[in-house]
Symmetry: C2
Subunit: 358 residues, 2 copies
């Protein structure tokens, strides 16, 4: 029997509630496949600021690095909103990404047939949308140097950041994206702004170069402004998208919102080896924290991504995804995805319904 | 009687066809208000590359600078698609913006009731959308230095650009945006990524500072990823948006696409003084160039923006806008906006219909 060491980071807000559900779902699905989990819990984000004065305590990062995978819920909340940027909960997330070297962020955006009415797009436009955005996560303008504040030649105060990519950084994310596209519908669209930015020209060149190893995948190129339009105009034209850190931040969120059920979407952040970071796309929802109103399904689907991408446990991943699908089919909904004629349940109850399916 | 000197830049593709319509519409509307135009025509983009080997000949820029306003159609085409970035038609546009110092790009995105069916968003979501995106146009990562290619400490080839704003750059675009918001619904949303980028922190600080002179305007702040989502989730929540160059590039295009009639949208690029640059949002559509299929209405609406923002000729601006509205009400459509039960017309015919209204 196999045993995986998973660091769980419940974080802030609704994090602890939804993490409890994901944990029991993992244990139940694992048990049926003779897989056991050793969970260790760490502090990150606002709760780490409160306990240790820093959003990413050294011991949390060490715990994560020593484990097989990291399952994160969500961080942030009103309480920490007025801290200076450098001390805020988000820094914990950026530190985790950098510390774990998880350079590839996989952001699926697929329309769930049961929830298609929640999309703000017309049904005929959005039906069948199934996009995977592969966002570079540890480079680009998020981490580029030099950055900071200074004074220009005219003596004026300036703020600046550097958008920079090296050839190996582009090569490795392109490789991940081509591999994913190959397992999907075989189409990869690389998004940049090569008509204006040198960093994008290098990006485009290297993606074209990497394509030589993946000639079975169809490669296209799109400017980021056009990609934002095309996602709205005709989302089903896309299969896999690969793009840099900030463009990916914007486009993956836009793609998520198209589906109408952002509360249902998981994500993964992976490196070439070592533990990946798995987390729902939604935030910590401090307004409903502790009220048993949270939707735990994206957290469960993030656990499914962990089983698939980290451990190759396709059986457990599918079992978790099927359980989520089944409770939706049975008509159960948390408040965020509630529809007329459906049955409203809380977070705990949703967890019990899932367990019954597993 | 007044006389305005207008440089017209027909550019490439459908540019010359739609410019002819805008020019006669301006002359007709002007005549009724005792306003005359002296038009001078310049080359820019692909046609300038063909004639002079550069997308922005010195004489074109000089002509623009010496005139009261610049009306541009569209540039680019397949023919120049394989040139290196630095020599492409787009560089003509970037050079014009920098050369004229038009730092404020006004990008209205409003749903036309006659064309709302063309939106990919649900009618109940998109109805009433009327957004003005104010995009900073001569700074940020588009023009920031250092930029280029190099080698990092690890000896790897890199490409890099600098996203930089100075305090006066933010102050002046914020001022323009507050003034516009004040004349609209009085709400301004500043979009940045201050939770990650120092350049955005400076941006946010200065917008807050400038707000002190406009305390009657309601100011809010939003991260760029969230803004991309909110535009899709609930576009009517926005009135005026102010943001930097690349974020504005992405968000203004997304906002345009929401309306479903990007072929109908004008834009203006203005500085504190001197000639502004007025152009439709759509491109040069090389696939239909010279076939009398182009939609000239966004070009006419761009001329209307010129009359309003450059010359304060609200009467002429409104007359042009009303003419466009009236031909739509009469059921005339070019191919790009054709709908069941409407009357299909070409570019020339659409021009004649407009003239009849003026
Ligand atoms: C919280 C923030 C720093 C983060 C990002 O911009 O990467 C978030 O928006 C995300 O996409 O995970
Ligand atoms: C053509 C390109 C350089 C330009 C830009 O990015 O500014 C265009 O996308 C625009 O928005 O006018």
């Amino acid at each position: 029997s196999k045993r995986y060491n998973v660091t769980i980071l419940p974080g802030d807000g609704i994090g602890p509630e939804i993490m409890r559900v994901a944990r029991s779902a993992l244990e139940a699905a694992g048990a049926r496949a003779d897989v056991a989990f050793a969970f260790e819990e760490g502090l990150v984000g606002g709760s780490a600021i409160d306990a240790h004065g820093t959003p990413l305590p050294e011991e949390t990062l060490e715990m994560c690095k020593a484990s097989d995978a990291v399952l994160l819920a969500a961080i942030g909340g009103y309480k920490w909103d007025n801290l200076p940027s450098a001390e805020r909960p988000e820094q914990g997330l950026l530190g985790l990404r950098a510390g774990l070297g998880v350079f590839a962020n996989l952001r699926p955006a697929n329309v769930l047939p049961q929830l298609i009415e929640a999309s703000t797009l017309r049904r005929d436009v959005v039906e069948g949308t199934d996009i995977m955005v592969v966002r570079e996560l540890t480079g680009g303008i998020y981490f580029g140097k030099p950055k900071g504040f200074g004074v220009n030649d005219a003596g004026e105060r300036i703020g600046f950041n550097t958008m920079v990519y090296s050839e190996p950084e582009v090569d490795r994310i392109a490789k991940v994206a081509f591999e994913i596209a190959r397992k999907r519908k075989g189409r990869l669209c690389s998004v940049e702004k090569a008509n204006v930015l040198e960093v994008s020209q290098l990006w485009k060149e290297r993606v074209i170069e990497t394509h030589k190893q993946f000639s079975d995948v169809e490669l296209s190129h799109m400017y980021v402004d056009n990609a934002a339009m095309q996602l709205i105009r005709n989302p089903t034209q896309f299969d896999t998208i690969v793009t840099g850190n900030i463009f990916g931040d914007i486009l993956s969120d836009a793609a998520s919102m198209l589906t109408g059920s952002i509360g249902m979407l998981p994500s993964a952040a992976i490196g070439l080896e070592g533990p990946g970071l798995y987390e729902p796309v939604h935030g910590s929802a401090p307004d409903i924290a502790g009220q048993d109103k949270a939707n735990p399904l994206a957290q469960v689907l993030s656990a499914a991504m962990m089983m698939r991408y980290q451990f190759g446990e396709e059986g457990i991943a599918s079992a978790l995804e099927k359980a989520v699908n089944d409770v939706l089919d049975d008509g159960y909904r948390t408040g965020d995805i509630m529809q007329e004629g459906k049955t409203l349940v809380g977070c705990v109850k949703m967890g019990e319904l899932l367990l019954a399916k597993l």
